[in-house]
């Protein structure tokens, strides 16, 4: 079995998504845990908290999305394999 450029691209895409998902997953877990804690302490501020939480989660998710973009580029628009 010879390793060619297509196979390397697929391996690269899988590695990109898998490793790129680790950091945002941990970060989103911590953010949600902190928000839950705050809502449990002050239920009346749940509206503001959840809106801010959504914006923050979207910002954190951006990192994972960049990884997704790289993986898609590798799979479907690879400049080397054409």
């Amino acid at each position: 079995m010879n390793i060619d450029l297509h196979m390397l691209s697929i391996i690269g895409a899988a590695a990109t998504v898998s490793f790129g998902a680790i950091g945002p997953a941990l970060a989103e877990g911590r953010a949600i845990a902190a928000a839950m804690d705050a809502i449990a302490r002050q239920p009346e501020s749940a509206g503001t908290l959840s809106r801010t939480l959504f914006v923050g989660l979207a910002m954190i998710e951006t990192m994972a999305i960049y990884c997704l973009v790289i993986a898609l580029l590798l799979l479907y628009a690879n400049p080397f394999t054409g």
Binding site: V55, A58, I65, Y76, A77
Partner: protein, 223 residues
């Protein structure tokens, strides 16, 4: 299923312009939304009927949310942000209808929407604060931050686009793979999850657009 998620399926040509299935879905969504609003508000009364009351509830809820985020009177921003949310919600939910392809699952529609948000941030910012004050925002903490501020403008618009596209596209792809593997009943929980994802993504896109506009107008301090 199309060959790649980056190239949409072409249905027919108008002259040299290819028309893809997501574009036709967009037209149908636009027609449905316009017809609903027109028929519901054709004879608007103070003592509203069922349809008019429902539409007014939607508008009032959106206005209250926007007021909470921007912190000013929501009426200048409601036409843009409200239309954005309603269109995105319907477009994301159109994945459930057989034969329709959600336009947000292809790169073109999120790119166009993100470009609209990008330009409207500057439009509302300059209108609210004047050109000089608005341009000074980019020098705000320190003139050294100018390149970073410009870079953040570009990357946040790009992330806005790819977030919507990536979520919807990957959800479509997951359903296609599950259908390919197992057939009839197993995709249903994934499609239910897709409804949730669609609504949340529409909400996040709109909230982020509102936060960006609020930052441009100068009432919200964020990124």
């Amino acid at each position: 299923m199309e060959a790649t998620p980056l190239s949409p399926e072409i249905l027919f040509l108008i002259g040299p312009v290819p028309i893809s299935r997501p574009v036709v879905t967009t037209w149908i969504i636009m027609a449905i939304l316009t017809a609903t609003s027109w028929l519901g508000l054709r004879r608007a009364q103070v003592h509203a009927g069922y349809v008019q009351s429902a539409l007014e509830i939607v508008v009032e809820t959106l206005a209250a949310q926007i007021r909470d985020i921007i912190g000013k009177a929501p009426w200048p921003y409601l036409p843009l942000l409200g239309t954005l949310f309603i269109f995105l919600a319907v477009a994301n939910l159109s994945a459930v209808v057989p034969g329709a392809q959600p336009p947000t699952g292809h790169l073109e529609t999120p790119a166009a929407l993100a470009a609209i948000v990008f330009f409207s941030v500057h439009y509302f910012g300059i209108r609210a604060r004047g050109f000089g004050n608005y341009a000074r925002r980019y020098l705000k903490p320190n003139p050294l931050m100018l390149p970073l501020n410009i870079l953040s403008e570009i990357t946040r618009t790009f992330a806005l686009m790819v977030r919507l596209f990536g979520n919807m596209m990957s959800h479509e792809l997951v359903i296609a793979i599950v259908v390919l593997l197992s057939g009839l009943l197993l995709p249903i929980p994934f499609m239910l999850l897709g409804i949730l994802i669609g609504i949340i993504q529409a909400y996040i896109f709109t909230v982020l657009a509102a936060v960006f506009i609020g930052a441009g107008v100068g009432s919200v301090e964020t990124t």
